[in-house]
């Protein structure tokens, strides 16, 4: 006995153990934070800016030219869907303005052939969520509140996460987000001088009877 040395752990293993412990705590923490960040709608949804079949610029039409939102999105005050305009609406003007522009080739083709322009939906809610534009617009929620400064966007992108917690934040306390109904499409509206947004919002909430529900069935029908 005693000839063959006993198996032992090397000296560095004492430090390796600390490393393993740090790894055991650090790795789940890292993965958790990575998931929390990566799978968050703020990372996934905000800034979504798909390439559209026609290089339509809201900055030009809504910003520079000052066309009201409802000129194109005609049903926004009346129905759940804020209608996408048919090609005919584009051609109301573009028959006369830039009738030969290369950028409008797709629009003219759609007009002649009678096929819709395949716009890519930017603000796309989950299928199990019911959302009604008219309910919000008539309650005094401005376009800019959810869609951001559209009048400055060359290509539309999302500015809000559009997730449930974001919806709930307004449903639970809508006061800061309300404005007079006639100012809904005004992209430059601010509360009158000397009036706090929440104070005005409280007045409007009572005036318009805005009592948003947070029941599940309100949105998940």
């Amino acid at each position: 006995m005693g000839s063959k040395p006993l198996l032992t752990f090397p000296r560095w293993s004492n430090k390796a153990a600390v490393g393993v412990l740090v790894g055991l705590v650090g790795l789940p923490l890292y993965v958790g934070l990575l998931l929390a960040y990566g799978a968050n709608p703020t990372s996934l949804t905000v800034g979504y800016q798909p390439v559209q079949p026609v290089p339509y610029s809201h900055a030009v039409h809504a910003g520079k030219l000052g066309i009201d939102c409802r000129y194109c999105h005609t049903t926004v005050e009346k129905t759940g869907m804020a209608a996408l305009p048919p090609t005919e609406v584009c051609m109301n003007c573009h028959k006369a303005i830039f009738p030969n522009s290369a950028k409008l080739a797709e629009v003219r083709k759609s007009y002649v052939e009678g096929t819709p322009i395949p716009w890519v939906k930017v603000h796309d809610l989950a299928d199990y969520v019911y959302f009604n534009h008219s309910a919000h617009v008539n309650a005094g929620v401005g376009c800019i509140t959810c869609h951001g400064p559209i009048q400055q966007m060359e290509t539309v992108r999302t500015v809000a996460p559009l997730n449930m917690a974001w919806c709930l934040s307004c449903h639970r306390d809508p006061k800061p987000f309300l404005r007079p109904r006639d100012q809904v499409t005004n992209m430059d509206w601010t509360p009158p001088a000397g009036v706090a947004a929440t104070a005005l919002g409280e007045q409007l909430r009572e005036k318009y009877h805005v009592n948003p529900s947070t029941d599940c069935v309100t949105c998940h029908r």
Binding site: G2, L6, L7, T8, F9, R11, N14, A17, M164, A165
Partner: protein, 720 residues
């Protein structure tokens, strides 16, 4: 009152411990090394017994069935089970409650019997704890798969999320999540912590590199240090105390899943104690069901003796009576309440379309176990086995009767229905046994089945030592205590050799010789010491028994050494005081941990359900004020279960992590590990090591001091 002399068998108040059969019998009862050998044999055998292969084959087949059935369920949908209105819970929740009940015996044996100083628990606690963990795994499976979309199971936990929703903390189903996950965690910690010294034994006996490194890594560098044992024992006691409260809470919480509902047969205040008694009942029955074949298969009859089986049979009998009493009380309450729905329910339970289930439950649980009143039945292994299997059949039916029979006839006759399991449900139940037994078989083969360190601690030899040795060393105390400057007085004093004449040489000759080993019985002369290469790391002395080690510890303590420690296979009584170890700070840490858990739970529940935080916080951190049955948003009573569970969870985690932090493990490298003498610590070695970094350490004088303590061998440890 006149004293009546009862026959010995009937007198349970003044039982004479000397007349009880030994807890550990046969070869294993003779010595520490025998215990090690007998237990390790199972895991070290090149091939397990043939019965193991048979059992493993059958159970892995069951596991395969489970995998197929669960995969079919997950890919197809919950419709493959025959659940529908009104029986929306049946096999799934029955199996859940059944398995979680089975899981109660392990913690009961480890924790409650530990607190009650029931030494017989040491033979069965390890595999009962293992059984608990495997049963909780099976139990956790069923609620998860009955959710339908199992990939969203994490929604059950409270975490800030993009939906702005939180679990409903006043719902017993959420309490369940906390209770069961806390129970699983604490059981796992308890099991693993208890196993660390035994894994170290496996490590030190390893004959292959693979075994050495795997068991070595798992045992965290455990070395049987008394300073470690001191914290370890305290941590074990704290965990036992926490687990005791926990084990009672878990099945109480499970019972509230039913008790807070209004359904006749569910809505009853008797449920928590009734369920806890039933859980212990079924758990012990499962321990007996597994212990009887296991002791045959692995030759553990010296550890799980007829006395152990007898004790367990008595617990089964007691809990059977408690369960039977609960059944009768349910009928009595329904009758006395005058509530027609309750009265109908209990008539329907026994005489309705599914009445046969009620009779199976009553007969298996309350009638058949009465046979255990007979000593004959408790001692006949096959009778005990049959009874314990029938108890588990009965206990499964008890849950089925409460759940499915309760649901199929509720208040509205227009809502009545019936239930018949689909083949998927039946085979999933069968498969869960496959999972349970597969894990159990793997445990038997690869992990220490019996808590060796604890068994060694209760052996009679662990408490006896040569009394004249103790007297001799105590006589030295005053003299040494006065020696404040070094150890010169000891060298001057004539060497009192505490070992009986001649025995020192004999004992030493049994020890294997390591490098640098020098027997204490050889001529003690400092000048003739063999000079090792370079400076020594320390000096190691080996003692014959715990008492000798304890006496030596006093000597070294009084000599003023600081960097030294005693190493033993189990915590030696009185060694803490002999070494002068100060009480550990661990209990205060655990108290702080528990307090933090309680506060965290209360703040979390207040925050999450508060209408204030719903509007003041943004996004996923906003609260979710839920209106339920007109209850207030903030209700302390409804928040107590989760506050309790988190208190126990954080206190237990603190006890577990605090233990390893205080003893600074894992540290795998330790110079004495290179010594064969030292490697016997995890088997039957009692050693003392004085490290060279101690200020008082001197190669010659320290060796003299150690010699004077009556060790059987001294060895110089090199720094490796």
């Amino acid at each position: 009152m006149t004293s009546v002399t009862l026959p010995y068998e009937l007198d349970n108040t003044a039982e004479d411990p000397r007349r009880r059969p030994a807890l550990i019998t046969g070869e294993a009862g003779l010595g520490f090394d025998r215990v090690t050998d007998e237990v390790c044999r199972v895991a070290e055998a090149r091939r397990p017994p043939r019965a193991w292969y048979l059992a493993m084959g059958v159970s892995s087949l069951g596991l395969a069935i489970l995998v197929v059935m669960v995969a079919y369920l997950v890919f197809t949908g919950i419709g493959v089970w025959n659940l529908n209105r009104p029986v929306c819970w049946a096999f799934d929740i029955t199996n859940f409650v059944f398995w979680i009940g089975i899981g109660h015996a392990g913690t009961l044996i480890s924790a409650i019997l530990f607190l009650l100083r029931q030494k017989w628990r040491t033979s069965i606690n390890r595999f009962a704890e293992a059984m608990t963990i495997f049963a909780v795994i099976c139990a956790g499976l069923f609620p998860a798969i009955h959710l339908g979309r199992i990939w969203f199971a994490y929604w059950l936990f409270p975490y800030p999320n993009q939906m702005g929703t939180w679990p409903n903390f006043v719902s017993p189903l959420v309490w369940d999540v906390f209770a069961v996950s806390t129970y699983a965690t604490v059981s796992l910690l308890f099991w693993y912590m208890g196993m660390v010294p035994d894994l170290a034994t496996f490590r030190d006996r390893a004959t292959t590199k693979l075994r050495f490194y795997i068991y070595g890594a798992l045992s965290l560098g455990w070395r049987g240090s008394q300073r470690h044992w001191h914290v370890y024992e305290r941590a074990y006691l704290l965990l036992a105390a926490l687990a005791t409260a926990l084990v009672v809470s878990v099945h109480s919480v499970v019972s509230t899943d039913f008790a807070v509902a209004q359904l006749p047969g569910w809505h009853s205040t008797i449920f928590p104690p009734y369920f806890v008694a039933g859980a212990i009942f079924s758990g012990f029955a499962m321990v007996v069901t597994l212990a009887i074949p296991a002791r045959e298969m692995f030759g553990l009859k010296d550890f799980i003796t007829p006395r152990h089986l007898d004790n367990m049979a008595k617990i089964i009998l007691v809990t059977s009576c408690m369960v039977g009493y609960s059944y009768l009380m349910e009928f009595f309450t329904a009758w006395r309440s005058g509530n027609p729905w309750d009265q109908f329910h209990f008539l329907n339970r026994m005489f309705g379309p599914m009445g046969w289930c009620g009779w199976v439950m009553l007969i298996c649980n309350a009638v058949i176990p009465q046979v255990l009143w007979l000593k004959f039945a408790r001692r006949k292994v096959w009778i005990l086995f049959v009874v314990s299997v029938l108890v588990n059949v009965g206990m499964w039916f008890e849950r089925f009767v409460i759940i499915a029979v309760g649901l199929h006839r509720d208040f509205l006759p227009s809502n009545w229905g019936s239930y018949r399991p689909s083949y998927v449900e039946v085979w999933t139940l069968v498969g869960s046994f496959g999972l349970f037994l597969t894990l159990f078989m793997l445990f038997c083969r690869y992990l220490p089945m019996v808590a060796m360190a604890e068994v060694k601690g209760i052996l009679p030899v662990g408490h006896e030592g040569p009394s004249q040795f103790r007297a001799a060393s105590d006589a030295q105390l005053p003299e040494m205590g006065s020696a404040s400057s070094g150890i010169a007085p000891i060298l001057d004093s004539p060497h009192p050799n505490p070992l009986p004449e001649g025995e020192g040489t004999e004992a030493a000759s049994h020890l294997p010789e390591g490098e640098g080993t020098e027997h204490a019985s050889s001529a003690p002369h400092p000048g003739h010491l063999p000079e090792g290469e370079g400076e020594p790391w320390g000096l190691l002395a080996t003692y014959r028994d715990p008492a000798a080690l304890r006496a030596a510890a006093r000597v070294v303590r009084d000599a003023g050494y600081r960097q030294w420690d005693c190493y033993s296979p189990f915590p030696v009584h009185g060694l803490d005081e002999a070494m002068g170890i100060r009480p550990t700070v661990l209990p205060w840490l655990v108290f702080a941990g528990g307090l933090a858990g309680c506060m965290l739970a209360l703040v979390m529940q207040w925050y999450v359900n508060s209408p204030f935080t719903a509007v003041s916080a943004a996004g996923g951190l906003a609260g979710l004020p839920l209106v339920f049955s007109g209850k207030p948003y903030w209700s302390l009573a409804a928040n107590i279960p989760i506050a309790f569970e988190l208190t126990v969870l954080l206190a237990s985690l603190t006890a577990f992590l605090g233990l390893w932090a205080l003893v600074r493990l894992p540290r795998y490298h330790f110079p004495p590990f290179a010594s064969r003498q030292f490697r016997k610590v995890t088997d039957d070695g009692f050693t003392l090591v004085i490290e060279a970094r101690d200020e008082k350490f001197n190669r010659a004088t320290t060796r003299e001091l150690i010699r004077s303590t009556g060790c059987v061998a001294v060895e110089e440890i090199k720094d490796t």
